[in-house]
C-alpha cells in the first residue's frame, strides 16, 4: 500500500503544480512533495526488517490479464537502498534548483514525473511493468536536458534518447522472448525465476545478450558510453544529479534483478565478458579522466569508471561480489550527485567549469573549496567514507576468485586519486584566478543539500553494518538461487 501511496502523492503534486499560478508556490510544492515522499521512504526503510527474505510492501493487482501482466510492486534489500536514494536525491535537487527562473512549472512537473518513473523501475516485480517504467524515464530526462541544457543541448538530448531507446528496444525483444519461451505466458519475476531451468541454455544465452545490451548502454560501459559525457555536460545540475545518481544504477540493478536470477546459464556463459567490460571501463574511464579539461566531463567519465567496479562486482556472481556491487551503487549514488552539485554551484558562482580558468577556489570560496575537496577524496575512495567499504568488498572478492588479477582495478585507485588531486590542484589550490576572484560563494540552498550528502557519505563510511546486513538479506537468497554460493 505504501508504494502506491507514494505514487499517489506524486501524482497529486503534479496536478497541484499544474494548477498553481505563481512560481514560488510551484517551487514549494515541488520541495514539499519530494520531501513527503522522502519521509515515506525513510519510514518504509526503518519500518521493516529487511533481513527477512521475500518482498516487503508487496502489492499485486491485475493490469492486463490477457497477457499475464500485473501491477506487482515490492521492495527487498537490493532495491530498497536505491528507492530511498532516489527519493533523497529528488528532494535535494528540488531544493538545489530553488533559483530556477525559466519555465518553473514544467521543471518541477518533469522532475516529479522522472521520480515516479525511476521509483517504478526499482519497485517493479513484473517484467512488463519494469520495461514500461524503464522507457518512461527517457521522456522527462530528454525534455530536461533539452529545455534547460547547455549550448549543445539538442545534440546531447537526442543522442541520449536515441542511444538508450534503441538499446532498450533490443532489450524488449529479449523480454518478449523470455515471456514466450517459458510457455507460462507471465511476466511475474518470481514465477519466471522458478521456471528458469525449463529454458534451454542456448536460448538463455541469446536472451541474456539481448537484455545485456539494454542494461550495458544504460550503465554505461565502454564502448557504448559516449552518450554520457555529452548528456552530463549539457544537462542542468539537478538533471545531472539524478542522471548520475540513480539513472545509471537502473542498468546494473536490471542485471541483478532480471538477468542473474532468470538466466543463470546466460550469466555463467557471459561472466568472462562481463568481467572484461567491467575492468576495461574502470581503467579506460580513469585514464580518460586524466586528460579532461572540463570539471563536469571529468566527473562524468569518473562515473563510467566507478560503474565499471559495479559491473565487476556483479560479474563475480558470489554473495560478497554482489553485496559490494549494490553498496557501490549506493555509494556512487551519494558521491557523484555531490560532485555534480558542487561543479554546478561553482559554474553558477564563477561562470565557468574549465579547469584552466579556475584557481584558488579554496581561498576565495571556502565553502565551495571544502565541499570540492570532500567530494574528490570520497570519490577517490578514501577510507572513512562510503565508497572505500564498497571498493574493499569488491577487491577482496576479486582477489578471492581471480587472484592477482585484482591488481588491474587496484592500480586505477591511484590514477583516480591522481586525476582528482590534479584537478583540485588546478582548480581549488594555487593562485586565485580572475574568474574566481569575481565569483560568489555557494548559496545557502546549494550548501545545505551538499552538506547533507557529505554527512551521509561519512556516516555510511563509518557505520555500514545496518545497511550491509539489510542488503545481504536479499543477496543471500539470490546467490543460492544462482547455485554459486560461497565455496
Amino acid at each position: 500500500m505504501m508504494i502506491s501511496l507514494t505514487f499517489f502523492v506524486l501524482f497529486t503534486a503534479i496536478v497541484a503544480i499544474f494548477l498553481a499560478r505563481d512560481d514560488r508556490l510551484v517551487k514549494s510544492l515541488g520541495v514539499l512533495a519530494s520531501g513527503v515522499v522522502f519521509g515515506l521512504a525513510l519510514y518504509m526503510w526503518l519500518g521493516s526488517d529487511w533481513r527477512l527474505p521475500g518482498w516487503h510492501y508487496l502489492e499485486a493487482y491485475p493490469w492486463i490479464p490477457a497477457f499475464g501482466i500485473q501491477y506487482k510492486v515490492g521492495l527487498d534489500g537490493i532495491s530498497m537502498p536505491m528507492y530511498v536514494l532516489t527519493t533523497l536525491l529528488t528532494f535535494l535537487s528540488c531544493i538545489f534548483s530553488w533559483d530556477i527562473k525559466t519555465r518553473v512549472k514544467e521543471y518541477f512537473t518533469l522532475f516529479l514525473l522522472l521520480e515516479i518513473a525511476i521509483l517504478g523501475v526499482f519497485v517493479a516485480l513484473d517484467l512488463f511493468l519494469f520495461y514500461v517504467f524503464w522507457e518512461v524515464v527517457l521522456v522527462p530526462m530528454y525534455l530536461i536536458i533539452n529545455l534547460w541544457g547547455g549550448p549543445r543541448k539538442e545534440y546531447a538530448a537526442i543522442k541520449f534518447f536515441l542511444y538508450t531507446f534503441s538499446a532498450s528496444l533490443i532489450m524488449l525483444v529479449g523480454i518478449i522472448a523470455l515471456y514466450l519461451a517459458t510457455g507460462a505466458k507471465t511476466f511475474d519475476l518470481t514465477e519466471l525465476a522458478t521456471l528458469k531451468n525449463t529454458l534451454a541454455p542456448a536460448l538463455q544465452i541469446w536472451i541474456f545478450a539481448a537484455l545485456f545490451v539494454g542494461f550495458v548502454v544504460k550503465m554505461p560501459q565502454v564502448p557504448v558510453h559516449t552518450w554520457l559525457p555529452d548528456a552530463h555536460v549539457e544537462a542542468p545540475t539537478a538533471g545531472s544529479v539524478l542522471l548520475a545518481g540513480v539513472l545509471l544504477k537502473m542498468g546494473s540493478y536490471g542485471i541483478i534483478r532480471v538477468s542473474l536470477p532468470l538466466l543463470p546459464a546466460g550469466a555463467e556463459f557471459f561472466q568472462p565478458i562481463l568481467l572484461f567490460i567491467g575492468v576495461l571501463s574502470i581503467i579506460y574511464g580513469a585514464f580518460v579522466c586524466l586528460a579532461q579539461q572540463d570539471l563536469k566531463r571529468l566527473v562524468a567519465y569518473s562515473s563510467i569508471s566507478h560503474m565499471g567496479a559495479v559491473l565487476l562486482g556483479i560479474a563475480l556472481g558470489s554473495e560478497l561480489g554482489i553485496l559490494g556491487a549494490v553498496y557501490m551503487m549506493f555509494a556512487h549514488g551519494l558521491i557523484s550527485p555531490l560532485l555534480f552539485m558542487i561543479v554546478g554551484a561553482i559554474q553558477h558562482g564563477v561562470g565557468t567549469r574549465e579547469i584552466r580558468l579556475l584557481g584558488g577556489i579554496a581561498l576565495k570560496l571556502p565553502k565551495a573549496g571544502f565541499i570540492m575537496i570532500a567530494g574528490a577524496l570520497a570519490s577517490a575512495g578514501l577510507p572513512g567514507m562510503v565508497q572505500f567499504i564498497a571498493e574493499f568488498l569488491i577487491f577482496v572478492e576479486t582477489y578471492r576468485l581471480l587472484g592477482l588479477f585484482v591488481l588491474l582495478p587496484l592500480l586505477t585507485v591511484i590514477i583516480t586519486a591522481g586525476y582528482y588531486l590534479w584537478a583540485l590542484r588546478r582548480a581549488v589550490f594555487g593562485e586565485v584566478a580572475p574568474a574566481v576572484a569575481s565569483g560568489h560563494d555557494v548559496k545557502a540552498y546549494e550548501f545545505w543539500p551538499m552538506l547533507a550528502l557529505v554527512v551521509l557519505i561519512i556516516f555510511f563510511g563509518i557505520w555500514p553494518a545496518p545497511l550491509l546486513s539489510d542488503i545481504a538479506g536479499a543477496v543471500q537468497p539470490l546467490v543460492t538461487l544462482l547455485g554459486r554460493g560461497i565455496p
Binding site: 497477457f67 514500461v132 521522456v139 530528454y142 537526442i158 534503441s166 528496444l169 524488449l172 514466450l180
Partner: protein, 479 residues
Amino acid sequence: MSLADVQSIAPELILTLFALALLFVQKRTPQIAVTGLLLALLSLFFLSHGQFFFGAWEINAFALSFKALFLAVSLLVVLGSPGTLPAEREKEYYALVLFATVGMLGVAGATELITLFVSFELASLSTYALAGYIKRDERSLEAATKFFIIGALSSALSIYGISLIYGATNTTVIRDLAMLQSPDLAMALQTGLIFVLAGFGFKITLVPFHFWAPDVYEGAPAPVTALLAAGSKKMGFLALIKIFLLSLIALQFDWGLLFGVLALLTMTVGNLLALVQPSVKRMLAYSSIAHAGYILIAFAVATEYGLTGGLFHIVTHAITTAGLFLIVALLSAKGLGEEYASYQGLNRRQPFVALVLLLSLLSLAGVPPLPGFQSKFALFASAIDGGLAGEGWLVLLAIGGVLNSALSLAFYARLIKVAYVDEPVEAKLVGAKQLASPLLEIPPLLLVALVLELIFIVVLAFQPNLLIEALRVAVQAVF
C-alpha cells in the same frame, strides 16, 4: 426480406437517412451529422447476431467491432471539420462523409465478395469526391483526380480478380472460397487472389501500390485525410483479413512469406521517406504507410494471437492518426501552415493541443505505457511467438519492426522538440488574418474531438484490458 433483415442493417439505414436529410437542411448541418452517427453507434448494441439477406450479410462480434471503429472515426472527422473547413457547400461534405461511413459498415457486414466490392466502391467514390472538396485549392483538385484515376484502376483489378475467383470456386461467399472445383483451377484462384490483393492493397497503401497516398493525403483537406488514413485504410485491411486470413487458411498457400516481405518493405519505405519530409502533413502520411506495414505483420504471422495484435494496432493507430490530422487541420486553418516550423512553441501557444500532440506522437512511436506501445508489443510478441514456434524468420520480422519504430522516433521526436522547446514565431503569416492573441482558440467541436482522443489514450494507457478482451472475443467469433 424479413423484418430481421431490416433490423440487421439498422445503422446503415440510419446513416443513409441522415445523409439524405442533410441535403435539404440549411443550417446546423454538423450537429445533425453528429446525432446521426451517435444514433448509429447506439443501434449497434441492439443488433442481434446471425446471418441475414440469405447469408450475404452477417452480424458477429468481429463485424460489430469494426463497425464501432468506423463510426468512431467518422464521428471524430465530423467533429473536427466545422472549424477548419470553408463553410460553403457544407451540406455535400457531411453527406459524403456519412455515405463513406455507410460503405465502410457495408464492408464490415458483407460475407460475400460482390456485396463487399459494392460497399468498398461506395466508400471509395465518396472519398474521391471528398478529396477534391476545396474547389479553389488546386492541390486539392490534383489530389482528387489522382486518387480517382488510381482508384478506378484498382477497382477494375479487384473486380477482375473476383471474377477469376468465382470462375475457380464457383461461389462468391468468402467463407467457402477454399472449396476448389478441381486442382488444375488452383492457378486461376491464385491469380484472382493476386489481383484482389492488388485492388484492395491500393487502399491500405501496400508498398508497390502506395504512391498515391502522400500526394492525396497532403492535397486533401486535413479532416478528409483523417478519414482516409483512419477509416478507408482500415476498411481495406478488413477486406483483406476476410479474404486472406479467414477463408484461405485451409488452402495452405504459403502467403506468410509474401506478407512478411511486403510488411517489412512497407514499414521501411514509409519510415525512411517520413524521415526526410519537410511538411508535417506529408510526414504523417508516410508514417501511416509505415504503420500499415506493422499491421501487415499480423498477416505474416496468421495466428489468432497475431490477428488480435493486428486488430489492436488497427484501432490504436486509427484513433491516434485521426487526432493528429485534426491537429494539422486546426493549425493550417489558423494560417500557421503545415511546415515543421509552424509548430514552433505550440506548447506556449496552446498547451492542451500540444499535450494531445505529444501523447499521440509518443503513442505512434511506441513509447510505453501508451496504447501504441501495447499494440506494437502484442504484434511483435505474436511474431516472436510464431518465430519460436517454427518459422525463425518471423523473429527477424519482429526485430525489423522494432528497429523501424526506433527509426520512427527520430521524426516524431523532432516534432515534439519543435513543439515544446522552440519559441513560438510571432509574425508567421500564411495569407491568413493576423493572429489576435498568441493563445490559439480552438473551435468547440474540434475541442470535443481532441478530448475524446485524449480520453481514449489515457484510459487505454492504464486499463488496456477493456479493449483487448473485446478484440479477443471478436477474433474468436471469426477464427
